[in-house]
Symmetry: C2
Subunit: 374 residues, 2 copies
């Protein structure tokens, strides 16, 4: 079966699990971190470099691609894979989140969302049907249902009404969706309210979809609140389907999400901070722009075996970043993405060997993360 | 001998010639185009990519590196090769040209040049001795004498006095220069005046240096005037030494320079225009940003066998450039540099096979260059 999820092993001490999800463009080993390729490119990287760092699957943003260059053009190119020359799996979001967070204004009705482009102010309308239509044109392996993602401040009544509309929108997405070579994932909402999370999960699980996402987190809430929701939310979703936590991806988030049963992650954080010269190292995050690195002729992370750390020094990369040289942000981006994909490789290995908690403790200790709970 | 130039073959119909210049970091086959790596990086490119496109030697700018990150830091890193992780030959200029063209103000005396940094207005002084000191710290294989490059508008008296000072400066450079693993090239000046070019050449050739440059061209003069100077200038330099035409490098310039006996070229043009989306193709230069390429799902140059043209379409690259995505300027830069290094490979081959004029005629015809002479 094309979109089969095979659960291979669950950690004996935690809910962390290793599995494999099949797509038309190949298998994805989970848990997995997905680099974000907003505008049909993971910023600064070639597809070959993404392969080098073992990126198994990348994400494209429907909102951006719909506006520029337009989904019809990408369809004409043969789909997003061919357009950007990436032959491994792709996931596209529904456009909903960006409509709410980026567009100049919007009106949400049962029918869909009217908004003005953040680029030129032009007016657009996206409904569940339209989102699926666009995503079918883009041709990703995994596509997401069009949902409403309420802000952190939303009260319980709003969140309840919203999640129910999201379920009705999901039904319309399923109705619209025709392509057999795409898996449509549903999205659980419900904000920080356990009862509402349960209700949302109950409603969307009924559709027996090939995968499910946990939406509405990392929307401004304190980290502890996110973890509280993650303490129970993944369990509300079927064990036999992949669980995708949207928009989350620091090393801490990955460990804590995996430990609670999450399989898929995406986040612009590692690539965005890289462009400001912030890089992950096994000893914690450092800002390579800082004067302290000016004469350090050692790798960014002396323990890292990536191309960047094997070939360039802190002093050189600092010089490039300070001088706004493109090679600088290429190297920091490459390293940060490698750091996370490699971390995930290690996490999968540790789960297989029943050493996940040890690996986490060791990583946290070196990285300087205070370990709050087990 | 370390810096031997071996003249291998001279074209039977023109002064075009093929040779080989040995340096401590390997041999350079001439004629050669040298990509410019102003700030210890050929903009957007890794050293591996430079190797892929067969860049044999690159250029570094002494003025920029002296200001940022400073030559002492680069010396501490083990020299420019090690700092930027490039193990093939490097040439550094003397800093003179940038002092005159970039710095905020300057005073030229017999002793040297006082100028204010274009970055922070700080005052600096560079003399022939200082230029050599900096270039010894950078550690390039080929270093250039500190010269004055008068503007196109300079009158004959000024140019005459200037070239004589340049000769005295050359003598001081030779006096200062200690490193045996660096070849110091002298620079011919003399503006557009044949008598002064002869005089300059006569003076500098007396020092029996391992190579010579033709300076003071591409400083604003009409192309025909440059070609007029090139009709006789290379002949004023010894046949047994490489001849380097500074700051020149369109496809037309390369053909016309080679035809007149030039061996080495450098120019920021191919990389600078690439960042604005202008790319060389075998049918002439195109501006990939233009709307006409929006739906063209063919390579930038269908006849090109470079990585970019084998993997990406005009439509995709146009999208990236329009969206200011770094990958866009990576791909246009890569292609343009490949176009020139590959052109030079073909030119060398054509000289060896006594087909240079045929190759030039064929290239010009397709590229759309009106062939003025020969």
């Amino acid at each position: 079966m094309t979109f089969e999820y095979k659960l291979e092993k669950t950690c004996q001490d935690t809910k962390a699990r290793v599995g494999e999800f099949s797509t038309p463009h190949g298998k994805v080993e989970t848990p997995v971190f997905m680099p974000v390729g907003t505008k049909a490119t993971v910023k600064t990287m070639t597809p070959e470099e993404l392969r080098e760092i073992n990126a198994q699957i990348i994400l494209g943003n429907t909102y951006h691609l719909y506006l520029r260059p337009g989904h019809e053009l990408i369809e004409e190119a043969g789909g997003l894979h061919q357009f950007m020359n990436w032959d491994r799996p792709i996931l596209t979001d529904s456009g909903g989140f960006q409509v709410f967070s980026l567009s100049d204004m919007n009106e949400i009705t049962e029918e869909g969302v009217t908004f003005k482009s953040h680029l030129d102010g032009s007016e657009h309308f996206i409904s569940p049907e339209r989102s699926i239509e666009i995503q079918e044109a883009l041709g990703a392996d995994i596509i997401m249902a069009f949902d409403e993602c309420p802000p952190y401040e939303a009260d319980q009544d709003y969140v309840k009404d919203s999640l129910e509309m999201t379920t009705r929108w999901l039904e319309r997405c399923i109705e619209q969706h025709q392509r057999q070579d795409q898996a449509l994932f549903g999205i659980m909402q419900g904000g920080m309210y356990q009862e509402l999370r349960k209700e949302s999960a109950r409603q969307i699980v009924e559709f027996d979809l090939p995968g499910y996402a946990i939406g509405g987190l990392s929307v401004g809430e304190p980290k502890e609140e996110m973890l509280e929701v993650l303490d129970y939310a993944p369990d509300l979703l079927p064990e036999g389907k992949p669980r995708y936590l949207m928009g989350v991806g620091t090393p801490f988030d990955l460990f804590e999400g995996v430990m609670r049963g999450v399989d898929m992650f995406d986040c612009v954080f590692p690539t965005r901070v890289a462009r400001n010269g912030a890089v992950f190292t096994s000893q914690g995050r450092i800002t390579i722009r800082n004067a302290t690195y000016k004469r350090q002729f050692i790798p960014m992370d002396p323990e890292c075996d990536c191309y960047v750390c094997q070939n360039y020094t802190r002093a050189y990369i600092r010089h490039l970043i300070k001088q706004k040289e493109v090679l600088g942000i290429r190297l920091t981006t490459y390293h940060n993405l490698y750091f996370l994909t490699n971390l995930m490789d290690n996490i999968r290995e540790s789960i297989k060997n029943d050493e996940f908690l040890d690996y986490r403790a060791e990583f946290y200790q070196k990285y300087g993360i205070k370990q709050e709970k087990n």
